[in-house]
Assembly symmetry: C2
Homo-oligomer: 152 residues x 2
DNA sequence: AATCTAATGCTACAATGTTGCATCAAAAGC
DNA sequence: GCTTTTGATGCAACATTGTAGCATTAGATT
């Protein structure tokens, strides 16, 4: 890649990693870019598939550790979602924690950017670090096709 | 047990099961009573330990299935919580779905009965079946002892 | 008591995530 | 550019949480 290039997505990921004092590896770069490209939080498996697509060797453990590191550094955040697997999304700049919607039909998690996950007032003594608000139901796509259950 | 006894907790559980057309088994009765006694949602393992204590043979699978059945029947409900295991709590009468607090220090889940888990207005097409609101942080007990991390 | 079948107990398996350790390679030093 | 350092990886083995199939048991009904 020649110089005189305006900072592309690839560079952003590299810089992001370096800025946090980590080593810039193919895996980390690819994971960050996958998260940046995605409109919704990705599961470990989905990210793994992306790495496959990019021809990047991916050991399960390495991927878990890469994701752990991104979360530790505050570059990404973990979403509990409805199923048993974590999902991950990149942390944007003016980041206010938002709610998520879990579709019980297609299994997808949708970011509800406009719905804040705000912590209400709690009994004395409780210190809230973060709030997670997850709505479960049928997403717009799934609701449209077949209200009577039929298919998925 | 003699007659002329006012309906105790044990009977309630039996009646609850029968009312839903299920067979009254030791496992189901013990599980319901454990949930009824507990002030906070219980994990599968915690319930299993209770059964042990009551000298009731408990196969992992049976317990999972008993809990599934209770949830299907609307007798109990599942809480996602912060960790990877489901937790279960009994469904009370005038039951409004409430928020939960997950203490990241002691791992406990606390019911916030007074904090409703209300679903906000969503984009058109989304059908919300239920809302889950989980606050993460340090509970009153854990916050009190040692703000500086030290121990748990 | 005999019958019917829902629930159980077992085994085997799947999915998700973790630990330990040898090896590799990114970044720094020369 | 070559060497050194150590963070990151890859592999094997394991832990936890949850499911599926199927023979057996026991709760309810007659
Ligand atoms: Mn999101
Ligand atoms: Mn509760
Ligand atoms: Zn959907
Ligand atoms: Zn606590």
């Amino acid at each position: 890649m020649p110089p005189h290039e305006h900072p592309a997505a690839a560079d952003s990921a590299r810089e992001l990693i370096a800025a946090h004092g980590g080593r810039v590896t193919r895996t980390r770069v690819a994971v960050i870019e996958a998260l940046q490209r995605s409109a919704h939080p990705l599961s470990h498996d989905e990210i793994g598939a992306t790495l496959d697509g990019a021809g990047i060797g991916h050991d399960r453990v390495t991927l878990y550790r890469a994701l752990d590191w991104l979360v530790e550094q505050g570059i990404a955040q973990r979403i509990a979602g409805g199923e048993r697997a974590w999902r991950f999304e990149i942390r944007r700049d003016g980041d206010h924690r938002h709610a998520h919607f879990h579709c019980e039909r297609c299994g997808q998690i949708v970011c509800l950017e406009d719905v804040p996950a705000a912590a209400p007032t709690l009994p004395a003594g409780f210190a809230v670090a973060r709030a997670e608000l997850v709505l479960h139901g049928a997403c717009a796509d799934c609701g449209r096709a077949g209200v009577e259950g039929k298919e998925g």
